[in-house]
Symmetry: C2
Subunit: 462 residues, 2 copies
């Protein structure tokens, strides 16, 4: 695929030459994301500086019926920014200003290209707190987080991105510029368009401004690591913690394969019989109370635990515990050079079943599977480990079974990574043909010509 020369000329005319590129080498990195789904480079790249630029891109794209794919940091895991049918990659990366942090209203206004981690640092410097913490926070952008409704470990206590988006500025493919939502914390006027755009994976409009809700920053955090004989024991402990009335800010599970990988570099010695571990974190303003809560957690899980409950006594130990989790991905690659990562979610009580079924599917296909993730909210990352690229089709077959199993257990094919290109063939299995058809009709309201990020979320029509 390549663009007709008049399209490129029209883009340059509309936006100026410095914002437009059709240079092959320049385009290549825009053909990739973290999904490992292959290379789909766009035919042109536009680096937008504001809503007006986005509107102009849509004007050109509409006239020439050319696809437009919005792009942030390309750290997505579901292929949402791949230019499946070529066309224009519309990058928001230059729109990276934090416009306002209003401590008195606990709100902020940002452009979509702001890196999430940078925003969190700025907010925390003002004594405030923005909870969503996707693993990629040092790379990913707030616009991307809005598009995917990003989560992270702290979602258990604090919820996902959706809970923090008060309002959006969105440019529709039709050229309309909407300001949805509100600047007040509450508001119910009309349909919740803001919530409809959050998680729509860049298929309904391009977000050019975000108003976010903030919280006061909790002053103290306590972190603990607990080993268990089995995932069943760990899951029982999770239920016990929550029924104690404590909602930790994180409750992360590692299964035995994940634990084995972690053990390679972790400074902690896991007990021999350990078949699972939980990483628990509580937070609040009162140091005593935060430690009292982690102590209550420790007490609640002690009966099920294998070995001692490790409670970090200082910041260095906290970091060590998190690094155990952080280097997991790298350490898994030391076991097997390749992996395909999934992010199903199931009702919390079905976690042991989900882990067991996943393992059984892996075994049947001849792969080791490492499962870890946000046990508190049932969001599991099942990683099928493999050694050679030739095995990929079989890995994909196994992953398909994992996705269907999650749905059969009352769960979903994606807890936080999105459908994108990766899972579009499984959406109907979860939602049924009627609901998918309805969503296609909704998309047509926003994008009547079908030029915005085509081929994503919904299965290709036979």
């Amino acid at each position: 695929m390549s663009l007709a020369p008049e399209v490129l000329e029209a883009l340059v005319r509309a936006l100026g030459p410095e914002k437009v590129s059709a240079d092959r080498e320049r385009l290549e990195p825009y053909g990739r994301d973290e999904s490992e789904l292959g290379l789909y480079p766009p035919d042109a790249l536009v680096l937008a500086a504001g809503a007006e630029d986005v509107r102009r891109v849509f004007e050109v794209a509409s006239r020439h019926r050319v696809p437009v794919v919005p792009v942030g940091a390309r750290s997505g895991k579901s292929g949402g920014t791949l230019a499946l049918r070529g066309g224009i990659a519309l990058s928001l990366e230059r729109m990276d200003r934090i416009l306002e942090i209003r401590a008195e209203d606990l709100t902020a206004r940002v452009e979509p290209g702001v890196i999430t981690g940078r925003f969190q640092a700025a907010v925390e410097a003002s004594g405030l707190f923005y909870p969503p913490d996707p693993n990629s926070l040092d790379l990913c952008t707030l616009g991307g987080n809005v598009a995917e409704n990003a989560g992270g470990p702290r979602a258990l206590k604090y919820g996902v991105t959706r809970e923090y988006v008060l309002g959006l500025e969105v440019v529709l493919p039709t050229g309309e510029v909407l300001r949805t939502g509100k600047r007040s914390i509450k508001g119910v006027a009309g349909y919740d368009l803001t919530a409809l755009f959050v998680g729509s994976e860049g298929t309904l409009g391009v977000v050019t401004g975000i108003t976010l809700k903030l919280l006061p920053r909790p002053r103290h955090v306590a972190t603990a690591l607990v080993c268990f004989r089995s995932v069943e024991d760990a899951s029982r402990a999770v239920a016990r913690v929550l029924s104690e009335g404590v909602i930790p800010r994180c409750l992360e599970l590692l299964d035995d394969v994940a634990l084995r990988a972690c053990a390679r570099t972790s400074p902690f010695r896991f007990p021999e019989e350990a078949g699972a571990a939980l990483l628990v974190e509580t937070d609040g303003n009162d140091e005593e109370q935060v430690f009292a809560e982690i102590a209550r957690v420790a007490e609640a899980v002690a009966g099920d635990a294998a070995g001692e409950v490790i409670v970090a006594q200082n910041e260095a130990q906290r970091r060590e515990i998190w690094e155990t989790r952080k280097y997991l991905s790298v350490n898994l690659k030391a076991l097997h050079p390749r992996k395909l990562s999934e992010d199903v979610a199931v009702p919390r009580s079905r976690i042991p079943e989900m882990v067991a079924v996943t393992r059984e599917i892996g075994r049947r296909h001849g792969f080791e599977v490492a499962t870890y993730g946000h046990a508190g909210d049932g969001n599991l990352h099942a990683n099928v480990l493999f050694d050679a690229e030739e095995e990929r089709p079989r890995v994909e077959a196994a992953v398909g079974e994992v996705l269907r199993a999650a749905v059969d257990l009352g769960g979903t094919i994606t807890g936080e990574h999105g459908v994108g290109l990766a899972k579009r063939d499984f959406l109907e299995y979860e939602q049924g043909a009627e609901q998918v058809a309805l969503q296609r009709r909704l998309k047509a309201v926003f994008d009547p010509l079908g030029i915005l990020n085509p081929g994503k979320i919904f299965p290709e029509r036979g």
Copy 2:
């Protein structure tokens, strides 16, 4: 207006005679809600027993192009259930079963006709917690709460209904039955249709089943009442509390007129110079910590307070404090027999301005105004007090000014009551013509014949 006899016959044929009524006396109460917008009785009443009944009603209504208005407890404040153009009132009141409370997953499944207060009691009996607490909770239904995205005092800490709806069963006017959302806590597959239905005021589909998220029940609650010289002082105190890092579960404001009304029956003696009051509540699992938090609040506000901070020492005192707030509406009617209540929301820092502007508008039109509400999240109930029905047109003019002022201050015309019939003429002022037009197009996707709750949310077309 009245139904053609064949429509009634078709309903009886489809649903059986015991579920259908066209008896005038029986219909009359269905022509009213808590909005005081007048009497709009339907031409027929259907008492649905399940999704299949709802589907059949739509089948008949589509064939004969008759409006269908879904009805819960008729406790709404914006006229959402009034049968503006006659037709069929489709009542969900008989669908009142709590189907499941799953402690291990912190979820519940209910039918839409379950009374909110009854559900809360059942949930609390299981050691769990469902936070949304609209003032009408002893009357209103969970289906109505979903339709309006109901809030309440505890929304400050716990969020509104939307935050607790995981999934819905919805019957569309086209007869499709959708199961949206998930039973897991997290999930991002496809567009967030669940969020689109929540707060859509019964204009997109009829909810016949609800899956709700629950929390562990906080074991302890502490309540305090503080007086201030002025709303400005009280607002400064609110900002100070939040910047202390404490998020109380309630932070309710009363202005001087509200306070004067309360003083009629309250067991508390308010200081003479009191021009405003805050009702504050903290909660948690550790009694000491909950009281430590309320003490921290008391300390934070002491500098601005007029008189002592009253902290309830036992359950009886807690109840007394809340009754001060609860009987406010009755007590206001003792000042003036009539009132028109609004529920604007503004960014928190604009509360003093909003209260001042509201008062000025009242003064100009010759009315006393009492303002109270959820100061923590900027959601204010401005009550224009008046004496005789003839004054209503002037009251409405004043209220219109209040709504526009809220928008001008960066807020919204409705924080939690919905647009319905009451505020449809102000929606464009807040959102602009393009956004309203887009929402009409969305409605047409769900309801192509325009038979579901016509005339609500959107202004009548010239």
